[in-house]
Symmetry: C2
Subunit: 220 residues, 2 copies
């Protein structure tokens, strides 16, 4: 009914969505499939969030395809993120880490003689090792390149501006600039012109640009 690419798309859509809304992160897989408890896994509607239908539908599809039953630790985990990050959410649910140790992987601990099979089952290292590769549109890439020409070291606030304008999450912006610097700043001084005439990282090839940021020529 659902081919592999479809399933993968569903999974990564859910993972991408939960990146913005942690409450929708899917639970770990479990072989004990009791179909009666399937509905218990569908998260309650997050009060107020838009595109509720899309989120719910995606998670529902994911759970249905994987046949994930209601796991015990989920009952003890946080119900809903209160939309305020890092607000000691665990303090009201401190039986997670106080009452027992390692609630997430207690299944693996119990049968510690089949570690790799269990691990591959729980954490499919081939498919979910990395975050799904982000594809940027032509307009997004052009805008990022323009910003890079202006300042290859945007600070947090600048990255937030870029994130707002492009719609790209700020951590992706950070990674994009890291990769861009590795490709272009170093290539400009290193491989293309081995003797370095491009005056950007000339005098200090491996400096940390903290106290006195070095900017392109148009900035002075």
């Amino acid at each position: 009914m659902t081919c592999d690419s479809e399933l993968e798309q569903i999974i990564y859509t859910a993972l991408t969505l939960q990146d913005d809304y942690p409450a929708f992160c899917p639970p770990p897989k479990d072989q004990d499939k009791s179909s009666s408890s399937l509905f218990g896994l569908i998260p309650d509607p997050l009060p107020g969030v838009e595109n509720q239908g899309i989120l719910q539908k995606t998670i529902w599809e994911l759970y249905s395809v994987l046949g994930i039953p209601q796991d015990s630790f989920l009952n003890r985990s946080l119900k809903h993120h209160d939309l305020e990050p890092n607000k000691e959410s665990l303090s009201t649910n401190n039986e997670i880490s106080k009452g027992r140790k390692r609630p997430l992987y207690e299944e693996e601990q119990r049968e510690s003689k089949k570690p790799k099979l269990e691990m591959d089952h729980y954490l499919p290292s081939a498919r979910t090792r990395c975050r799904r590769r982000t594809i940027y549109s032509k307009e997004q890439t052009l805008f990022l390149q323009d910003q890079f020409d202006l300042n290859p070291y945007p600070d947090f606030v600048s990255r937030c501006h870029i994130a707002k304008i492009t719609g790209i999450p700020e951590p992706r912006i950070q990674v994009w600039f890291q990769n861009r610097r590795a490709r272009h700043l170093l290539r400009a001084t290193g491989s293309q012109v081995p003797h370095g005439n491009t005056s950007l990282t000339e005098e200090e090839p491996r400096c940390f640009i903290y106290g006195e940021p070095q900017y392109p020529d148009m900035w002075g």
Copy 2:
């Protein structure tokens, strides 16, 4: 009326919030304070999002304290993030990067003879260079340490699980594990026991653990 620490808290609260909701990222500072346009900066209520009052109040406080007027590029920027990341949001607003180059910093370009003052003004490198340091609660730290003992290399799905349970954003989980590995895995084999008897990174001191992950002893 508002002391510096208060202002800083407001700024970073807003920045943290916009990390989850990019539409609420504050605009860049601007000296042209025309108080009449202040209300134009207050973002429209994001339809449906909870804690609307907190977000609105925070942004309002921030804008009021900074006296930020309605910037021109804000009119051309995205109105509301459509809650689906990386969905070529720019394609419907492609006049941002098509119609003109570098809309975000056109002010600096115009007066390119005062680069550092302008840059310091726009991008206060001392205060907003880095993301505000995240403070983890005792329960969060304990849970992360437990997960680290089980698997110091959690993949994307595992990091999402941890993010869900702890309420910490996934990128922060990633950074936490990076720092923890640098502190503990290397310290265990390097400084404490210089000759390395702890069998974790023994045969391959600088390997990338991709194809065949190495896990602690309890995993085999």
